[in-house]
Subunit: 157 residues, 2 copies
DNA sequence: TCAAAAATCACCCGAAAGTATGAGCGGTTT
DNA sequence: AAACCGCTCATACTTTCGGGTGATTTTTGA
């Protein structure tokens, strides 16, 4: 903040000096050149242009640090699947077979019965049998409930 | 871009008009007031101040706020246990309505469409509509996929 | 106040999920 | 060998889900 103040003062001093210099330069011009009638507008124009430029320069100098910083938060999801370990105890408690657990995992991944069947190279009916029996063992009625329960019990990530 | 161009032109026209007006104003002053010797510097000063101001105004108008877009990658760790807080950012990003998010939550709880309908005191068809639009927005095909995606994005616990 | 978005509901139809039941095959256990 | 279990597959049937379409009402934002 104090730096800013100094900077501003420096700029102001520069501005003052520039103004003084320009005025004296014009005065000098006035003395040197034969001034024709109605030449005032020419001087005024020159001054106008010069000081407009000065103003622009000033404004740019003063408002330069005014950069609007827009921060875009890009969310990066980490796959915490890596640090998943099967709750062996819960698995044994559940009474599920390895195959049924496997099916449950794929089910939780959002796969359809047909897709699970294709993945495991077995028939759709086989998967239906697996799901039916695992629903019974887990005491649920739907795959969504099975997924919910499975996650809660540490059976699936 | 074309808008900017127009804006610039507008500013330029304003600038020209201001210059013309000021010059004529000063000319008028010259005619009206008895000009003492060495009064030139006073006029020059007035012009200088006025046009410096004009320059500053111009520069501010012309200098668009430089938007420095900084993309910050921010890792979001989900505590998918007890204390769940909705990822507001993800929610807004998803384009889901409040009701749709509500349905998604109940869906993840393992409820059937009929049960969700009963819970929210609306018809089964309404829930079907919600789920359909929700699937479309989330770019999924099944409820299990919606639940998976919803959990990953912090939309549901 | 006016348009857009959200929420509500209905109907149809096909696909997917789930239920029930039966059965064959390879293992292990008793 | 008989009993049991896990895995496989099948048929038949019911329920649920999801897509498509269209409509009305309510809410909201500009």
């Amino acid at each position: 903040m104090s730096m800013n103040f100094l900077q501003k003062n420096k700029t102001m001093i520069l501005y003052g000096l520039s103004l003084a210099f320009l005025l004296y330069f014009l005065r000098w011009l006035e003395l040197r050149v034969v001034i024709i009638n109605n030449a005032f507008e020419i001087y005024a124009g020159i001054i106008a242009v010069l000081f407009t430029g000065l103003g622009i320069w000033l404004a740019i100098k003063l408002t330069r640090p005014k950069t609007e910083t827009r921060i875009i938060e890009k969310e990066v999801y980490r796959n915490n699947d890596s640090d998943f370990v099967l709750n062996q105890n819960a698995f044994e408690q559940s009474g599920l077979s390895k195959r049924e657990l496997e099916v449950l995992g794929l089910m939780a991944g959002g796969l359809s019965n047909q897709e699970i069947a294709d993945t495991l190279f077995v028939s759709l009916n086989t998967i239906k049998t697996h799901t039916s029996s695992l629903f019974e063992k887990m005491e649920v009625k739907r795959r969504t409930q099975a997924i919910e329960a499975g996650k809660r019990q540490g059976l699936i990530p």
